[in-house]
Amino acid sequence: MKIVVCVKQVAVLGDEVEFTADARDVDPDFLDFALNEWDSYATEEALHIREDLGAEGDEVVVVSVGGAHVEDAMRRCLAMGADRAIRVDHSRPADPITVARLVAPVVQRESPDLVFCGVQSSDGVQAATGTALAELLDLPRVAVVTRIEWDPSAGRATVRRELEGGLLDVTEVDTPALLTIQTGINQPRYANLRAIKQAEQKQIAVVSPAEQGEPAYRVRRMFAPPKGEGAQILAGGPADIARRIREIVEERLK
């Protein structure tokens, strides 16, 4: 059994923020970095499945894209109990489609039974990498998963996913498959400092980026939205308020 978990080191904003000189990104001096919250649930879920169903030699492999500094987040996953980590060396910011293109050949080579991604990243909040990766790998995929019952011998998993409006859907999927994991599916374990220090000794495999093609979008400028004149409080029932909002938006777009 092999499960690949794609993780991201996300940027966390402090109290104050400034942009880089070219105004295309946030100045890294104002950022802290951490393992994406969704990815810690994905990692925990993979470890959990390995512990429940796995045998000797089964692996949880963590894959990430970024410069050497993203290894901190990867080491957090190793400290939780992941067996190996592979970093695709790519230091420039990348959009979800580009990330999926960079990760796809690495995952392909590992030929895992399951691929997990977090539903989204807390800094990008685009929720696109997982789906794009499934498409590139030609794998069935289920998004926003909150429960997994997998029968590896049958090559089939019953998964529960969250839909909008509090609805749940239980569906079956043939494995190998790609699942994007929602928070709350489990309780990610604490990566203790002893384990983190030991993970620092572990080698993280670094691979060169493959052909990445055209980016899906380019950031032209980042700026703080101009401060408005003051808020307007809308009164009335929901329908009235909706109507009023539509009027305001239409007016502004003119």
Partner: protein, 709 residues
Amino acid sequence: MTPTRSTFAGLSTWEIVFWYFLIAVSTAVFVWGVVRLILKYRRGRGSLTVDRPLSRLWRTAAIVLTHSWIKRRDPVAGAGHFLIFYGFLVLFAGTVILGFQDDFAKPVLGWDFFRNEFYKGYSLFLDVFGAALIAGLAIMAYKRGIQKPFRLRYWRPDRAENEDGRRLYVIGDWAFLGILFFLALTGFLLESFRIAETNPSFEVWSPLGWTVGKAFRGLGVTGSTAADAHFVQWWVHGVVALGFVASIPFTKAVHMLASPASVASRDEQAGKELSPIPADAKPDEVGYGTILDFPPRYLVQLDACTKCGKCHAACPATNSGYPLSPRDLILDLREVAEGALGLRHELHVEPLRDPHASILGDPIRPETLWSCMQCMACVEICPVGIEHVPIINQMRRRLVERGEMDSTLQQTLESIYETGNSFGEASRKRARWTRELDFDVKDIRKEPAEVLWFVGDYASFDPRNQLVTQTLARVLRHAGVDFGILYDAERNAGCDVRRVGEEGLFNHLREENVAAISNCTFERILTWDPHSFHTLRNEYGAFDVDWKVVHHSQLLLELVADGRLAPTKPLDYRITYHDPCTLGRYNGVYDEPRQVLASIGTELVEMPRSRDNSFCCGAGGGRIWMTELKREDAPRPSEQRIDEAVALGGIDYFVVCCPKDVTMYEDAIKTSGHQGEIELRELTELVWESLDLASPVPVGDRGGEEEHA
């Protein structure tokens, strides 16, 4: 007629032979039992031997012989045990003397000393101590059967009614008292029948036997009737006595062996300085997860427990509806040890246990371990030296190693790692409290100062505590103390991180603090946080640092004594003082805060639980970072404490000298419904008031409401 008696009067040779055979059997069973125990203890991890054996021996002898630990907080029970102990010891010694006379002195040396004056003295001595034994047993039976204090009841907070599984212990307790009483009684009857038989005048030296013997004669029990009764009684007493000796390693009586051994092996720094985890430890060698992880001396301690329940009565968790009783934790572990390594395992008596099976979950539930405040009340009062606190800490370490913990605690530990403080605040905000001052506080990293003030997390970030911190800064400046702080280089000292069981993070914090402090020039370290005080003073030794660390109560006293602080306005307040666990029980600092309070004129009224019996506020051991585990209807430890203070009557101020106490008790005054009846003051705030300087210090009007995660 020579005053003496014959041990085997009226017994035929084969009966005497049979008697010696019984002695051999009894001794053999006893020895086999002791060997079994030692084999059990050897299964533990690590060595059976202890350091400094001689000094430990003397210390143990003093503690056991004077009953200095046993008599604490219950002098009546202490007296009961004292009478039983010396009664039993003297009667046992009497038997040994008799054996020496009959089997060695007389036949081998031809020395017959068991007569005349020696015999009379012997008789009197044994009679008096026999009576003492009975009196002691009566006291204990009264305690257990009639008075039934909380500590002796087998109710436990972590199981449902009738689920305590302690029925065998109740039987064992009474059987132990019963058999000793039976032995004492049959001993006296035996003596009385003997005296009734011939009524020799010298036997008046056995006053009790003489009196009862006379009564027997009055009833016509004399001559051969008495001799027959004596014969029967002789065998009954003898066989039961030999049976008792044989049973010692297998029953409650085992404490006669295990408890002194436990006292001897007790680490005097137990709980105060936790043992490090070896750098090369594998995950299943971190902390305790199976019974085989326990070192031999802890396995001895499990058998040493006499179920006196003093820990149970002192524990703030047990007494506030948390699922933890230190007594029951130890008894559960003893059950595991017996079922996995002990005699029960050997004889296949259920419940059996796999020695390699995890003890975490069953029977030791994680919520039980997380309930502990590591306040040391149990370790401090245990009369047999059991080290509950480090044992709990070791099991927590295993849970931390497995990554299993409450999510609030997990978030706190993660933010301590990321930010260096438990508030998850940026380091640059650590010294923001100084902005309210009308003077600058030295950055000790840049310029030397006499005093390096290690502020601590709660004192730095919590709004109510910032007021105290600012007041202390003003007091120090007023007294002309040259001090500086570390600004953003200070990290959480790691006291509670270590007590949670996160040794790796503790080491990390310690390294960072040592690196920051070692680059500064100062004479001593000051802190008003007892947790930081304890850890900086006692737990940074691995780095070979030689710091002199003082608590602000000590420094304030010094400043008053030197005249650098002159309390001009006498404060005629009626106050009570709460000893912080890490200052009092951990470090023995009891008097300095009280002396400061006396120097400013306040009238100190002690709460029933003070000094070493202080009752934890409920925040210790990392509990302040965890979600609530107690039964909803039970009052919090801090609320019970405020009730205790209010019950003293007419108390103006509840005085504390620990930032976590400020937070906990400001909250408890509100939630216990005593708002308006009593107010909280930190020691420094009263000192400042007594200095009668113009600028008022706002107190108690903000903060203290929320528990920070």
